[in-house]
Amino acid sequence: MNVRILGKQRIFEWVEGLQGSWRVVGPQASNGGWGFGEIRSADEIALDYPTTILPPKKALLPTRQVLFNYCEGRPEICRDAVPTVLLGVHTCDLHALTLLDRAYGGDPPDPLYRAQRAETVVVGLECLRPCTDQAFCKSMGTIAPPEGVDLHLTDLGEAYVVEVGTEQGRALLEDSISLPTAAEDDLRRLDRVMGEKWARFPNRLDFDVSQLPALMLSSRSSEVWTELAARCLGCGACTLVCPTCTCFDVRDEMDLSLESGSRVRVWDSCQIASFAVVAGGHNFRADRAGRLRHRFLRKGRYQKKAFGLPGCVGCGRCATACLARITPIETYNALYRRMGEARPTATEVVA
């Protein structure tokens, strides 16, 4: 295993070394919280961030992306992939990227995602303590990084251990900074740090995650959905902040000249009432409870079925974003509690 040591005093030097050839996207202070954004000045990088409001996926799937431009009716392909280092991605978000790779890979692959992904090197960052009280990565099995992360950082206090996971990661490191190989002592400290982290993360689900897809299937007609729907505002904040949500809307935008324009895609949400409306007005998911159920079943079952990975990585962002305080931990646990019960109480999940 190729393991290097990056002293913390050299972080800025490394970021500046990367900036020569790459767009560096990483965590930085943003609107009173933290967000992934382009690091323009190396001292903006905030690797000690707890979590971000939006997940890093926007570096690969911009909130608004041009599919193509057209001029006098002639469409022209738009290629806008930018060589990018996605720096400081927590383990839950690394799992989410793996899911995005499958959802936007597939048959046929999404050409824009694939192009940007091919130009992107991912640097992971080990989580050593829960980032928020709504995180449940340990329960979802996303507390450790997935296979194939280009580079992965673990904080040893005064330095980061840098594990090289891919050839792309090795090349990036060599081109941007010269780092010493980790010593025996560093590796012992890495083992100790990793050994100590597990106990800090509580189990938040009352059941094993392997039961989740079956639980979701058996909960299709649960009253939990109607109870949650009574609180849900239908605002779509949960899907907006979700690292595994992939839905988009497509719009044509004309220039003021009315001669040229663009077809763009923008993030969309299955929680918005009009999401499944067809021309003519029929809504194939007309009630809020059905929309909530669709979202939770998509996270807990459908994406696992379609892509082999759980659609929820336990980041807890949706719980933090929800004005009605609907949380995945409470919802999954309520569905589990109710599974065997003949007559569920109306107030259980509201509490």
């Binding site: 193509f68 824009l112 809307d249 021309a279 459908y302 079925k305």
Partner: protein, 283 residues
């Protein structure tokens, strides 16, 4: 040697439409127009009956439209029967012969016509459902000897809303296609059956073990037509439907057409009833 439209998309971007041209238009009803579309030289459609295209009017948007003509009658062109109902379809209705549109596709799974061979066919389109089903009917008529008895039950709300009326007459005259029509609300000249499409079912006898049923129509129609088809003893796996959904991308990415874990645009829009029966969101 031609390139398939779908291959040209895969080679560039699956979201990038190919510029096609309207060769002619034929007004069918107050709301529906039949567009004859021509692809650029060297590009062919190669579709299966029941598949759809994403049709673009640049500056307005894109909408999923089923292909109304059969592959057997493509002859360099194909037909789209479009109802003026949304923004894109309204914009399409303002266009003229010679105007350009964008097309992507064909997408999804159509009718598995090879599985229908050797069987009797019971076709039950309602309203605009005849648009995609016409593609299958033309193909069946062009290889008529491969199929047993073919019966069509077609319902519309009003005689003025019946689509492809000239072809309906031709089909009825052929003698090898049994056509039954009905309208919900007759006008003065109407001498045929009055009532919803289910009122036609008692008029036909089927051999349930050797019959494939195909029904295409609005969601509410399926509930009642399925009752009739199942009552006739047709197995759930031999009943085929085409589902309408908001299919924005056509390639299983945008999420709008998802029902349970199924992407209607890729796995459908044509499904057998037994494959969608377990999905609460399907019907």
């Amino acid at each position: 040697m031609t390139t398939r439209l779908r291959e040209t998309l895969d080679a560039t971007s699956v979201y990038l439409p190919v510029e096609a041209r309207i060769r002619s238009l034929r007004r069918l009803t107050k709301l529906e127009t039949l567009f004859t579309i021509e692809l650029p030289a060297g590009v062919s459609l190669h579709h299966d009956p029941g598949q759809f295209l994403e049709v673009s009017v640049f500056g307005v948007g894109e909408a999923p439209i089923s292909i109304s003509s059969s592959p057997s009658r493509s002859n360099g062109t194909f037909e789209l029967c479009v109802r003026r109902v949304g923004e894109v379809t309204s914009a399409l209705h303002t266009l003229h012969a010679g105007d350009a549109i964008g097309v992507r596709g064909p997408f999804g799974h159509g009718f598995p016509i090879h599985q229908f061979r050797g069987k009797d066919l019971l076709l039950a389109p309602g309203g605009l459902g005849l648009a995609p089903l016409r593609s299958l009917i033309q193909q069946v008529l062009d290889e008529r000897r491969h199929f047993g008895r073919v019966t069509m039950l077609y319902g519309a709300r009003h005689p003025s809303e019946l689509l492809f009326t000239e072809e309906l007459e031709d089909w009825a005259k052929r003698g090898d296609l049994e056509v039954h029509l009905t309208v919900d609300r007759p006008d003065e000249g109407w001498t045929g059956n009055v009532g919803v499409i289910t009122t036609l079912f008692p008029k036909v006898q089927v051999h349930p073990r050797n019959t494939v049923a195909v029904t295409v129509g609005p969601p509410v129609m399926y509930r009642f037509v399925l009752i009739e088809l199942l009552a006739k003893g047709i197995p759930e796996g031999d009943i085929w439907l085409s589902l309408e959904r908001r299919m924005k991308c056509g390639v299983g990415k945008c999420g709008h057409c998802q029902m349970d874990h199924i992407f209607t645009c890729q796995d459908g829009p044509v499904f057998s009833y037994d494959s969608i029966k377990p999905l609460p969101e399907a019907l």
